[in-house]
Amino acid sequence: MSGDQNAPGGFHHAQDKLTFLLSLVPYLIQQTQVSVSDAARHFGVSQQTIREAVLLIAVSGVPGSDSNYQHGDLFDIDWDAFDENEIIITQLVAIDDSPRFSAREASALIAGLQYLQSLPENVDSAAYSSLAAKLARGASEAPSQVIVSPAATNDSFARIGDALSRGMQLEFDYRDSKGQSEHRRVDPLRLDSDDDDWYLRAWDHSRESVRTFRLDRLDGLNVTDLPIEHRPSDVALSDSLFDTSGEHTTVVLEFRPEALGLLGEFVPEGTRVTRVGELSRASVRVAHFHGLTRLVAGLAGVARVVDPPEARRAVRQWAVDARAAYPAAPGEHPTIANA
């Protein structure tokens, strides 16, 4: 199993642990009786996390008039049932309802909904707005103004969504960053997004492995009548779109410290970033220079390639070739061609 919430010990932050306790109590009351395993599944946590929380709730309560905790002022559970992995709360203290959302929690969900508005037909816009209104009403303060425009989707997005839901293979022409186009036949597994960009994660039949495809590099999309051979549940997908750990070419990048985020997946989490004067440096691994060249060419004045010389020259040549299409600016000396 993966995911933070299933890690041994459950939640890592005290605020998360408190929220979990405040959420578990009303759930247990509403269920009247529920098994440890069902509660664990419902909250997406381990059974151990549920057990520890129930044991803590069972000894918690309010201090009585003499500032001591008396039995009648504490929660209690049916201990015999708990031995049989069943949870029954027999005495309540202070709280019995779900807590309100905080302003930030509500605004995170509302902004997330706005982003999802462009997703396929399953969801209509009236449902979105009534949900957003409900969240705002369920928050302790007015949700903060964090607003997101709907994700960009297009025609191929809808057809991939259709193939995903019906479990059909897809075929398309894919043009990679080198400009080479190739016909692919894949089992679609998942549609991932990264802000305004969408990616198809799929089992590539010719490569015999999982590949990530940018939707805007895909042409001639066709939903075949062949059922998929690899189901999404059979294939482990990491949360990061690109795995660079197996690549062998190392490139040294230099950038303004605040621009680290702009380098995205090229600088995976955990990469060592060193400081050279006012700038940062990081060594990253790449399969080839094509993607990196594009990235750096889009970050003029913000980032540059330091090493190796071949990579530096690749970026330079990319820009030199591009500039050749424009007349020299007034006052600018024409470039003297190297012999």
Partner: protein
């Protein structure tokens, strides 16, 4: 009083008692105690009686570190949306020691008529997933726990999607924080075309994402006018001040900012030509709202000329800008800067 061993250098005595009661048990006990009191509890009552504090409380002694602990706990609890109130003593106003603390159950409970269908629960699960990285990941995780407390299971639709919004800009966290607190922020902002960043003092009104870029809508205190800032142009740290914003943000500030950005996008069009069979041809042709002309040129809508110039410079020789003239200059300047920062005739510096 129990005899306490002479303080040993390896095990401070406070750590021993702190480990006895877990943080979440102390916070949970504090919430329970404050919900169940009508008139509120004073700080002394809380520290002396509530689980997790009472173990460390010294009657008549110095409890200053415990008091600081209580202050931090109050902040942590309020941050979760729990309405922890402070009440002045009617007979002794202004006396901090006489303040009473309580949580009104009516303000704590989710309104009884709020529930979510399985379909809505699925959508909200997906909406929370959008923030699984970065500044709002904690909030979305906790929002989901509260959602699950209602007991509704999600339905199985929309399973093949993993949408994600990134909050890569370091400024996102402090700006949304200032937005919640309604206070002024100070930061250095580098306008495109200017050599040096200028310091700004602004009242944040909304943080919006438009086509993958984060913007701050704010009231600039010096210019005395509303301004829109691109988060990626904020240089260095954002300082969240304690000065309350003199301009209160309207409830529609975010939607208004987004509508304005949409209008700019709709009315600004650039024309470029692309080399056939390249990445630029496939990707620029598929951008939102772009039009492919029969002569091979592409019309592109844009919101910010400098941002588009960065995007186009990335495509190198695969694209040539035709118009507007400002965009031609901006792309050419970027290419010159890249050539200058990537010398081919010297070793790495």
């Amino acid at each position: 009083m129990k005899s306490v061993p002479e303080s040993s250098p390896s095990i401070p005595s406070s750590d021993v008692s702190a480990s006895a009661v877990a943080v979440e048990e102390r916070l949970f006990s504090l919430v329970l105690a404050l919900v169940s009191t009508e008139i509120g509890l004073t700080k002394a009552e809380i520290l002396g009686a509530v689980q997790g504090y009472r173990q460390k409380f010294v009657p008549g002694g110095d409890n200053s570190s415990l008091e600081r602990q209580f202050e931090r706990d109050k902040d942590d609890i309020r941050e979760l949306g729990v309405p922890l109130e402070t009440l002045e003593s009617p007979t002794d106003p202004g006396n901090n020691q006489a303040l009473r603390y309580r949580i009104s159950k009516g303000d704590y409970d989710l309104p009884a008529d709020i529930s979510f269908t399985p379909e809505e629960t699925t959508l909200l699960n997906l909406a929370a997933m959008v923030w699984r990285e970065g500044s709002l990941s904690g909030e979305s995780r906790r929002a989901l726990l509260k959602l699950r407390s209602l007991g509704t299971e999600g339905s199985q639709q929309l399973i093949g999607y993993a949408p994600r919004i990134r909050t890569r800009d370091a400024a996102f966290g402090p700006l949304t924080d200032a937005l919640d607190k309604a206070v002024l922020v100070r930061f250095s902002y580098l306008k495109p075309g200017e050599l040096n960043a200028r310091e700004r003092l602004v009242a944040p009104a909304a943080v919006v994402q438009h086509q993958g870029r984060w913007y701050l809508q704010a009231f600039d205190q010096k210019a005395d006018a509303p301004r829109t800032f691109l988060l990626s142009r904020i240089v260095g740290p954002v300082v969240v001040t304690r000065t309350p914003s003199p301009q209160s943000a309207s409830a529609t500030a975010g939607d208004d900012a987004l509508a304005e950005l949409d209008e700019i996008w709709r009315t600004h069009v650039a024309h470029v030509s692309v080399r056939p069979g390249t990445d630029a041809e496939s990707r620029l042709g598929k951008r939102r709202g772009s039009i492919r002309n029969p002569d091979g040129t592409i019309a592109l809508h844009y919101t910010d000329l400098a941002v588009l110039a960065d995007d186009l410079a990335a495509f190198g020789p695969e694209v040539v800008v035709i118009s507007p003239a400002g965009l031609v200059t901006a792309v050419r300047d970027r290419l010159a800067a890249i050539i200058a920062s990537h010398p081919d005739d010297m070793d790495a510096v």
